[in-house]
Amino acid sequence: MNSIQMAFKSILGNKMRSFLTMLGIIIGVASVVVLVSIGQGANQSVSDSIQKMGTNLLSVNINMRRNNPITLQRVNEMRSLEGVAQASPFSMSSGTLKAGLQQYEDGSIIATTPGYDVIRNYSLALGRFLTEPDVNNRNFVAVLGQEAAEELFGSIHAVGETFTWKGYPFTVVGILNEIGTSMAGSGDNLILIPYTVGERLFQRKGINSVYVSATSAEDVDVAQESLTSYMDALMVGASSSTTYRIYNQTTALETLTSATNTLTLMLGGIAAISLLVGGIGIMNIMLVSVSERTREIGIRKAIGATRGNILSQFLVEALVVSLIGGLLGLGISVLATHLLSPVLGMTLTISPFIAAVAVVFSLTIGIVFGLYPANKASKLLPVLALRHE
């Protein structure tokens, strides 16, 4: 109790110096907490956006220029494989869409088949999705995302309207519900057209990419296996072994998470170095303080202070400085994460764990770097300390 009072007295007695000493710890703790929160926030937003895409999502990418065996018929066959719920081909392009005087250039034009809405968890706000007849008859129809509809027609009530792309008129048959943005980009700039129409206008024959949904998140592995054997059977006699690849979101999630975890660790590590430097600052100041207060130590010893009293006085002083510094640093990092969240476009939260670690770490630094000066102070001989001018 008394050593804590004495510590506060001495800290307040030298405000500027105490503040500068604390600054090292404040900056150290704040940077550790903020950087780790950014790392965790990045991690969270990556896994969120993958979750949004659907954890039961798989994609098959075919890497063949010639003799590509995948046809619409085969994609339809995939739907009946074990563990597979839906399968749709996928091909993407971009360009300028026109409706009257309005132009829209930011759209993603995706050619696909019915079922793609199910695979990607899209739902319709208005109208209908693409149908089998649309695909079979090469109908120039389109389903628009909300942003695309608003940009072209001023509102989402655009079913029945027409726009042109590359000079071809398309009739809008449906409008998607709002999707929001994710890692994969904006979801509301979509223009979905029948695959057969896309093949012709993209000037790309064949199917290089198929999106597949498993019957459930647990069945992703089953679906992957049955897709693999299906593809292997088709690829017999192919010259290269890397003719196709199957990706699933779970592995993508794991890969990305481990990448962002490494990032978090790296950021935290760099920040921890600054905390260490802050600790050395404490030791430095405490050593100066000990030599400045040699006479005080002598007086205290003469009137009955034991080595333990002096040791605890200086140690508590270092601890109080580092604890206050740690708490201030934590306060600043709370402020900083609030300010940074909108800037970085992700929700930064300080986990109680990292907050506790930061404070405990700063206390540890106080003990470790306070111990040497405190011990030095406590060992001073009273006679010599009193003689010190």
């Binding site: 007695g13 010893k301 009137i303 034991t306 333990g308 001989l381 006679v383 009193l386």
Partner: protein
């Protein structure tokens, strides 16, 4: 109170061996007021340090209130200083960051005495040296004489067996010095044992008796 038998103390000063105390023996009884007088370099500071348990002799026996100090650890010596000895220094040696009351409380803190009793005893001690109206002042706000009074209050507060004063008037003008000496006499009349170290013959003459120390040896004992 104090029993010294064949005390020796040597220092290594710049490669030269200095025999600061050479076969020093004397006794001081309870309630005595004794001056130790000697020129600078005579060994009187070393003697004071040993009497005050701030330093330990190389050989010989020193008993303080019946306790043989030679076998004591640093921790036990600290305890002994805290309970048995009240120091008064030439340079006052108050802590500048603490006010008068807090300075006087300090020895009681190290004895582990509770806040309330500490405050009461400190106020009593300051009162007894006539400073009850200066308790919240810091040393820098006090005159030299007042600072020395605070130091005396600090020495008295734990009711020590022995008051050990090292040139208590050395930093004071004559008038203030005389006041402080008056205070010592008052303390002596109240039954305190006082050892006063000085180089000033006039000051030493006011004690009951004086021990003269020259070149590390007690030369003569003068009755005051």
């Amino acid at each position: 109170m104090i029993h010294m038998q064949d005390i020796n103390k040597c220092y290594q000063l710049g490669g030269e061996k200095v025999h600061a105390l050479n076969q020093v023996s004397f006794d001081i009884d309870d309630g005595e007021y004794v001056a130790i007088i000697g020129p600078s370099g005579s060994g009187k500071s070393t003697l004071m340090n040993i009497i005050g348990c701030l330093d330990v002799q190389d050989s010989g026996t020193y008993r303080l209130a019946g306790t043989d100090t030679s076998k004591y650890s640093n921790r036990q010596l600290a305890r002994l200083r805290s309970t048995h000895i009240g120091f008064i220094f030439q340079g006052f040696n108050l802590l500048g960051r603490l006010n008068a009351l807090e300075n006087v409380e300090l020895p009681l803190i190290y004895q582990g005495i509770g806040r309330r009793q500490r405050r009461r005893q400190a106020e009593e001690a300051l009162d007894s040296v006539g400073l009850s109206d200066r308790m919240k002042h810091r040393p820098a706000q006090l005159s030299g004489g007042q600072q020395q009074r605070v130091a005396i209050a600090r020495a008295l507060v734990a009711k020590p067996h022995l008051i050990l004063a090292d040139e208590p008037t050395g930093n004071l003008d004559t008038a203030t010095g005389a006041e402080i000496m008056g205070l010592f006499e008052q303390l002596h009349h109240q039954g305190n044992t006082i050892v006063l170290i000085t180089h000033d013959q006039g000051i030493a003459a006011r004690a009951q008796r004086a021990l003269r120390i020259v070149d590390g040896k007690i030369q003569q004992v003068e009755e005051g």
